[in-house]
Symmetry: C2
Amino acid sequence: MKTKQQEPRQDPEATPLGTRERIVRTTSRLMQRQGYQGTGVKQIAREAEATLGSVYHFFPGGKQELGTAAVRHGDEEFADILEKMLAAEDSPATAILVLTKVLGEGLRDSDWLDGCPVTSTVVGTAGDSPGIQEAAAEAFARWRALVADALRRAGFGERDAAELAYTVISALEGAEMAAQVARSTEPLEVVGRHLARLIESYR
Amino acid sequence: MKTKQQEPRQDPEATPLGTRERIVRTTSRLMQRQGYQGTGVKQIAREAEATLGSVYHFFPGGKQELGTAAVRHGDEEFADILEKMLAAEDSPATAILVLTKVLGEGLRDSDWLDGCPVTSTVVGTAGDSPGIQEAAAEAFARWRALVADALRRAGFGERDAAELAYTVISALEGAEMAAQVARSTEPLEVVGRHLARLIESYR
DNA sequence: GTCTATACCCCGATAGAC
DNA sequence: GTCTATCGGGGTATAGAC
């Protein structure tokens, strides 16, 4: 059952993705735009260029398992960005400010279609699908931990760091939603400035 | 076409709602929990105790028109709460703090099912349904205006008031989402304290 | 691992009697 | 305004050959 997978061969252009990976990325992208309920398994198979049989081979748990994998994928994606930003700037406040700028540009470049993939996927799955809900909770907790760590490294107290991280992630999440709906980068920019100010006020 | 509707007769128990109003409230409540795509027109008819024919009689635009009406309903609902809170407290910062407490209690009382009705409904309708998107944008703008007005009345400058209102609404939105996913009132409470502090820092 | 075919159900929307 | 019946299509998921 766990026979060694063929290693992805080296390719100067772009590594050809395995079927499973292609399905995960396609699911994440589709649910980011259409939500969990608005995305069909057939559509995922079609756009991932896989057959329905392959999809259910890799994800026997069906649509719920696909949703969970999509949330985890979005989790890692944003965690990478966040980690790099926090490492590149010497002040966490500046890093957040830069991040809001980047998020705004990404949103505009997608014609305001690509909001937070985790939020889009988890909304509307409240009662059912505890797996998706849990994966989303883990994503938010991880992002918060990254921010809190950076604040601690910058000399903030344990408690201040943890609490500020809560507000940073929540406000970013809300500003992304506001920006998407308003089709404007202004909410993200304003929130970025206010978060930087709030952080500095604890120095 | 505009013959006068029968006035709702006086009832000490509870005013019996007209069919149209019953449909709107049911739609708002269902989409708040299940999202736009996860809510069926047949389900709306069933739970509103109306027939499918009645639903399409009042909303010839179909599901999209129902979604738009639901967003407008959620808009007014929250605007009323916000307005009362801001009027009851003499400081806007205190009002926001109380509001986060109230929102957290409401969320917990619904077993973390009832988040922001506007957000839940608009997510996943990005490309299609410009009507829903627009109604959501109007809701956010209206809520922001209420906060900005209160800040101006409390003596804040024009620009500070407008910008703070952006951050207050965005952060509340994000904190509500974070609280729902984490099944905890903590994000709302922390964000409430930070927003109050941020506001006071402009005094 | 990949593919086709299909079972079974509910979707949004409409027609037309009452 | 309310009701029932129905259309055409797509939903999730499974079976079983290759």
